[in-house]
């Protein structure tokens, strides 16, 4: 065990000297994984379970992660897809194009950089990043991420299955989303009186696939980290399928006739099962309370984010 420990840590230390490109070019896992930044070897995620073990496809309770290290940084695992909604180029309506242009994300290749110009095969949404201080991501002040963005973040989600609903408890942001399974009908977008950051969602089983339809999202949330917009007309369909013992596959389709001229299909995502005791801190197991707390975030923005993006000294204030 000791020798194995030394070997693993040595490999990890050695690997940080490899370039991202070298890592990305490494051989992938068996099967055709969705695109995502890869690991050099192994399954690409902490492997605790036999994928071929028998399972009940409708038993999805547990902690699932798209994170290559399980949780806490490390990015998305090789077969989990990336943190963008899709590699497919969206087709905007004029209103959608205007909304897209108004959003200023900080993920992706730097706007107008040589790097951005060298990748015309990527939609411009992935090539227009600006420093967060100059952006307008509402998550930059800890507003809820909403969907589908929350499910794209590389951290675990606990699926809590109750008789009449399924709760998605996201570790990052400690967000909670309710999927109602009691047979209620989803309201039409025009019938939504009060939009929600986490939307209105209903679920049903279609064979062994959990189909979740949702709408009524606050328009200030983004579809993903690259700042793709949605309107109050967005209807999102998620199809979750437990494809083996430790993997759930997620397929999504976004329909939003106000902003998108045709339904926009998401990249297939995956997440993997974690033991309930995997996430630990302070001798305590279970999801971390990984809140985006305004008290932390606003101070970070004051002393780090804003000066870094503007070159100006931190604004007056202080940590409380």
């Amino acid at each position: 065990m000791q020798r194995l420990s030394i070997l693993i840590v040595t490999l990890a230390l050695f690997s940080v000297t490899l370039s991202a490109q070298e890592r990305g070019a490494a051989p992938g896992a068996a099967g055709p994984p969705p695109a995502g930044r890869g690991r050099a070897a192994g399954p690409g995620y902490p492997k605790f379970f036999d994928s071929n073990a028998s399972f009940n496809a409708r038993d999805i309770a547990g902690i699932w992660t798209p994170n290559g290290a399980g949780f806490g940084g490390g990015g998305r695992c090789r077969d989990c897809g990336d943190r963008g909604y899709s590699f497919e180029f969206p087709v905007f309506t004029p209103a959608g194009q205007k909304a897209f242009d108004a959003n200023i994300p900080s993920y992706g290749r730097a706007k107008d950089s040589a790097d951005a110009k060298a990748h015309p095969e990527e939609h411009i949404g992935r090539r227009r990043a600006q420093p967060p201080a100059l952006g307008n991501d509402t998550y930059g002040t800890c507003n809820p991420m909403g969907m589908p963005r929350a499910v794209l973040y590389p951290d675990p989600v606990e699926l809590i299955v109750l008789p009449d609903r399924i709760l998605q408890h996201f570790q990052w942001g400690y967000g909670l989303r309710t999927i109602w399974m009691d047979g209620r009908k989803l309201p039409a977008p025009d019938d939504i009186d009060i939009p929600r950051w986490w939307g209105y969602a209903v679920g049903r089983w279609d064979g062994d696939t959990l189909v979740v339809d949702s709408t009524g999202y606050d328009e200030r949330t983004w579809v993903d980290y690259f700042g793709y917009p949605h309107s109050d007309q967005m209807v999102l369909q998620e199809r979750y399928t437990r494809i083996n013992y430790d993997t759930i596959e997620l397929k999504m389709t976004l329909t939003d006739p106000k902003y998108y001229a045709k339904p926009w299909v998401g990249e297939t995502k995956r997440m993997h099962l974690l033991p309930k005791t995997f996430i630990q801190s302070s001798g305590w197991t279970g999801l971390l309370e990984d809140l985006c707390a305004p008290a932390n975030e606003l101070e970070f923005n004051r002393v780090i984010r804003d000066p870094a993006g503007t070159g100006k000294p931190p604004a007056p204030g202080g940590r409380r």
Binding site: G74, G84, R109, R305
Partner: protein, 148 residues
Amino acid sequence: MTTRRKQTAVLIGLAMAMWAPPTARAHHGSFISYDREKQWTAEATVTEFRYINPHVQLFFDVKDKQGKVTHYNGEMLPNPAQLIASGWSRKRAATALAAGTVVTVTALPAKAGGNVVLVTRVVNEKGEELLGAGPLPANPQAPPGAKP
């Protein structure tokens, strides 16, 4: 699962956490604010360390050859969750980076100028790397979803 297999899995998880490219660690995309072509390394004295979301922060002083002291606000890419995953508890990290500790800091300046930097590496006087930060990959600006 046996205890030994659990330990092995945790070690693999730890190794994979250390593998992560900086852009994948940051949830703000704040890496883009810094100039990776102007990385510098200097001896520094820690004035404050914050083990806090959204990213841990290191505040420090650097004295130049003329004795002039410049204060820096340093962003670090890990957040507490990542440090927990890689074995850097709050107590361990705070002890290693207590105010007054002399360290060698490697940092990227902000593109916009000023005294905010991205701290990419911290080494103590014994030569030990702290918080598991490591050298930057060749192309950290590539989005996490970049295809090979």
